[in-house]
Subunit: 192 residues, 2 copies
């Protein structure tokens, strides 16, 4: 596979999903959006499900790259994570498109696997960062696993609040930051 | 309007939404599911949007009734609320149907209004209950508004985790209960 063509198709899949929604997403629309022929798309991806799997794989990769942090300081790493997670706006179509795919997960195991991967990445980074901060003496000695679990659940909640209520993600970010401050004895705002 | 016919139609709308999903939900399918003619459905509801508004109104009503509690004790009231919120199973189709409607909220202000109403109800009951528990000396003197905000966000997160990850709601319930115990100095499990 030429990486450039598949990249073009994957990007067009994301844009088409945002524009038309899951139910009206067709190979034809992705072809129009990507200026790649439907024959060429079918050469790389057999079905709409395969296309969306590739789109979600790309999403997981991009999320992992966003979490990469030059600093070794767990406080900086936590700020990078919060920036990565809360970077959308309530007007963006992307969170809506992603919510539609989440609603499809019960019918598509391959989507569900990728959402598990995304969740695992988020929770592991949170847990490791909190643990490193405790070891370095920056954070209070909490239970990293429990903090990671509640914060990731709140992040999931922020996503659905953005889509269903049109609420800005900054609202949930505040809630999470207040919680982290109370738990860790450290405020993300103090570092940012 | 005869309440019985509209009730029958609203119930059938919910079942059809679960069975066919939002995109494939039609008046014809609701007619088949309810054994009410499409003409009769159109007599009561002009559009699919109006039907779903009525379905969501009914959902808000039922949720409010579920929160009604015979006891004046805020500890009992909090247990009733947790029971009401976490009563689904990961296999249920209803949470999936509701998530589909949430993903439609950006395109339908009338759905969004109803999700705001649901959120307002949940947050107000949480806030009032925590406040009453503090006044009665059962709970530590926390900030009721902040606790209500984090708990309702986590509940929203539990919903999306159930749909996207197939996770049992009991997982989020544990996370919320641990948080409440740490904040309020009171464990819902101790009362149940």
């Amino acid at each position: 596979m030429e990486p450039k063509t598949t990249d073009t198709i994957i990007r067009a899949t994301g844009r088409s999903l945002c524009e038309y929604g899951y139910a009206d997403l067709t190979m034809q629309r992705i072809a129009e959006e990507s200026s790649v022929t439907t024959a060429a798309i079918h050469y790389h991806f057999d079905t709409k499900e395969e296309l969306l799997n590739a789109f979600l794989d790309d999403l997981v990769d991009r999320f992992e790259r966003k979490l990469a942090c030059d600093s070794d300081d767990p406080r900086d790493q936590l700020v990078v994570l919060l920036d990565a997670v809360f970077s959308s706006n309530a007007d963006d179509e992307f969170p809506v498109a992603l919510m539609e795919l989440k609603a499809q997960a019960p019918y598509h195991d391959t989507y569900r696997e990728r959402f598990h991967e995304l969740d695992e990445t988020l929770r592991t980074v949170l847990e490791d960062t909190v643990e490193a901060g405790i070891e370095a003496g920056y954070f209070e000695p909490v239970e990293p696993r429990e903090v990671a679990r509640l914060v990731s659940t709140a992040i999931n909640g922020g996503h659905v609040r953005m889509v269903a209520l049109g609420e800005e993600p900054g609202e949930t970010r505040h809630v999470v930051e207040d919680y982290l401050e109370a738990q860790l004895g450290w405020s993300p705002e103090a570092t940012a």
